[in-house]
Symmetry: C2
Subunit: 203 residues, 2 copies
């Protein structure tokens, strides 16, 4: 069922990667079908032979992001390391991460790659944290708690709602909040969040 490439080569993969590059650079909203097509030397209409519509192309990019994140997370078996790796991925690829987490309910049902890739992410987290104590359900809930916490923190940080002084400070703080700080670390909390009371870095 995997057809050999005809004219251009594997346009599906080529287009997905080109789109991903553009998206990581400028964000998904600023990435047009024509821009992607230009990048790889085709007409924008050629893409419609491989993707139902623009959303489908974005979904393919999101799926590729899920796969990469899953791969990055697989060797991180300790909870703290796991969370750290997750956060660093999101901070290193903010536009991609946002795209991944903003796929519509429909996209998850339509683009089979996507649901599959997202489920793989959940599974790798469940497996990696299999060493935690407690029943399966307790572990599952712990994974959910960690995920919600780090994702929520990231999302609030990546938009301007909350503003940490730096990415590194953000990671330190989120680990502290999750109760996963290094034993000998004592993060100074009060200096982290810069909202109206204390402006970012003057003095």
């Amino acid at each position: 069922m995997v057809r050999k490439p005809y004219h251009h080569g594997d346009l599906y993969e080529t287009a997905t990667m080109a789109a991903r590059t553009l998206i990581e650079a400028n964000g998904a909203e600023a990435t047009s079908l024509r821009a992607v097509a230009n990048q790889i030397g085709t007409t924008h209409r050629a893409l419609y032979n491989h993707f139902a519509d623009r959303e489908a192309l974005l979904a393919a990019v999101a799926a590729s992001g899920y796969r990469d994140l899953t791969t990055a997370l697989r060797p991180a078996i300790k909870a703290r390391q796991h969370m750290q790796t997750y956060a660093r991925f999101a901070l290193d690829h903010p536009h991609l991460y946002r795209l991944m987490m903003q796929q519509s309910y429909e996209a998850f049902e339509t683009v089979s790659n996507l649901r599959q890739a997202a489920d793989a992410l959940i599974d790798v987290s469940l497996n990696a944290l299999a060493t935690l104590p407690g029943s399966d359900d307790q572990r599952r809930r712990a994974v959910m708690r960690h995920w919600m916490l780090v994702h929520g923190g990231l999302d609030l940080h990546l938009s301007g709602v909350l503003r940490a002084r730096s990415d590194a400070a953000f990671i330190t703080e989120i680990l502290a909040i999750a109760g996963l700080s290094e034993p000998d670390t004592n993060p100074q909390e009060q200096a982290l969040w810069a909202h109206k009371k204390d402006p970012p870095d003057d003095k």
Copy 2:
């Protein structure tokens, strides 16, 4: 400095409310300047006398959302009630909530209303939870933890990444995860999350 309305009345407020209605119905992406203008009987160009650009109109809507959420949250002084109210607002106004949380860093700096409204939200949470034990910093961190947790859970639930069986089930579960369940409640966790292992509601 508050100018009386000239031709149409207070177009700023009228347009913001119309935009909000459209956004709550169809989402921000699907709401065009022209659609808003039609709704209130003006030209789309008239809006540019009150909003710098499309983003600014969306930011005004977001600010109004922040104000409403803050108002809803003010009387909820117990942590559990607070979180419950927050979650219910987001679930009742999913498109609006997403818009609020997706304002760009720039928007927060440019549209003064917006930063102000977002800060008011943080403050009301800090004040409401002032009864919690611990130092100011500990309380601040506790607020952040609760916020990140509930927001992260909501965001994952509102997109299709995680799928709870229902909104009510989601609220119950998020409270349990946060350690804020009613004492006599014993939420059955395993039945909540429906991802690939067990499809939504058949049986």
